[in-house]
């Protein structure tokens, strides 16, 4: 409750300090514009973990960010799925994915991106794409030293999103 209020205050303060454009979640500076959408925590697709155990196992926000970068770096270098990312604004994707991971790990971040359905309904992903991405996520978590069973707890949160992500 208190945290929510602080966040709202911080957001209000930031809104005064910066031009309105900078706060538009559909068009941040340095990112390409996406169609307008309503920002909501529910867009992250799943409720966060409780407590600090998961965040610690992922080595905090920095570790979680490294995992996102590791996953995306591997994905764009993978011939099976690289093509999917050619036209993608990777600046926005890195930012929103880092927000989402941090939010799910209960790292105190707000997720400001689109819903999983909204973000993926035009890309035409198929089941094998999901498998490939998960493998890169596993490799990235391995590289960060996240224990296998902890990785699985995190993957269990993401797994049902496949229904929104895979469209053909």
């Amino acid at each position: 409750m208190i945290r929510k209020m602080t966040l709202t205050l911080a957001a209000a303060a930031a809104a005064f300090a910066l031009p309105a454009m900078a706060q538009d979640p559909a068009h941040r500076p340095g990112e390409e514009a996406v169609d307008p959408y309503i920002v909501a925590e529910a867009n992250a697709g799943v409720a966060p973990f409780e407590g600090t155990e998961m965040l610690e196992a992922f080595h905090g926000r920095e570790g979680s960010d490294r995992i996102v970068d590791g996953m995306l770096d591997r994905s764009v270098a993978d011939a099976r799925i690289a093509e999917i990312f050619v036209a993608t604004d990777m600046v926005r994707l890195r930012r929103t994915l880092k927000e989402q991971f941090c939010y799910i790990l209960n790292g105190g971040c707000a997720y400001t991106g689109r819903s999983m359905q909204d973000a993926h309904d035009d890309i035409g992903l198929q089941p094998a794409d999901m498998g490939a991405l998960v493998e890169h996520l596993q490799d990235a978590m391995d590289a960060e030293g996240v224990p296998f069973r902890t990785q699985n707890r995190f993957l269990a949160k993401l797994a049902p999103m496949r229904r929104d992500v895979v469209t053909r």
Partner: protein
Amino acid sequence: MLASAIAGVAQAQSLIPDSRTGGKLLLTGGVSTIEGSGGGGLSTWATITGYGEEDGIGGNAHVTLVDLPDYQFRTAGVAVGLWDRVELSAARQAFDTGDTGALLGLGQGFTFTQDVIGVKIRLTGDAVYDQDTWVPQIAIGLQHKTNDQGAIIAAVGGQDDQGTDFYIAASKLFLAESVLVSGAVRWTNANQTGLLGFGGDANDDHEAQFEGSVGWLLSRNLVVGAEYRTKPDNLSFAAEDDWFDIYAAWALNKHLSVTAAWADLGSIATFDDQRGLYLSLQAGF
């Protein structure tokens, strides 16, 4: 007009996924059972064999050896999984009585050979990705078995040298716990899974039997666990026991895996305590 029709076709085609192999995660296609279906070793799972997801096909070949004190049991087979929906399998089993054959009056090295043709259809659920519900992946299937030793089977009281098992299987990966649970109910009248024929002087009807397994995922390529399988007891000349094993399945990659187990197959044709090493090799995609 034509251009828009072509564009329409192109768009319609883009809704159809490209055919891709290897979409599943390591080990999630299961290994090969002694009857050739995808699953554990002794118990059938609801998973469709191979690494094809809904957008691909998978297939594999396997050889399995179970080395028992008084017998040797070998099986070899092939299976394909089509779009993670349908599984077709064929296996040939050899139950080699070795020296025991002479003691049973069958002759040294007497071998029962059985062919098993299997079909499995996934009805609903995704054992791996449906992590927000307890609902498992569910499949139904059948295995048609033909044994080549009709005369011996009749002599020991068996009613038929061929038979069909029907089953329904449910499998679920509890990913957050790194635990896999699977169970199946099989309607069968097979004696020692059909190696001693079908039906007997004590009972000829199909009965519901249970087979189940648990597995702990230790890493992406290693799972250890245990299986249990109940069996009918149709022949009065020899009591038949439930089967049990503890196993480790290790995948080198999506093309090669090895399963090793310690299996307790109980009493077989009056020879008790048939416990031994189970070793299975699977190659595929």
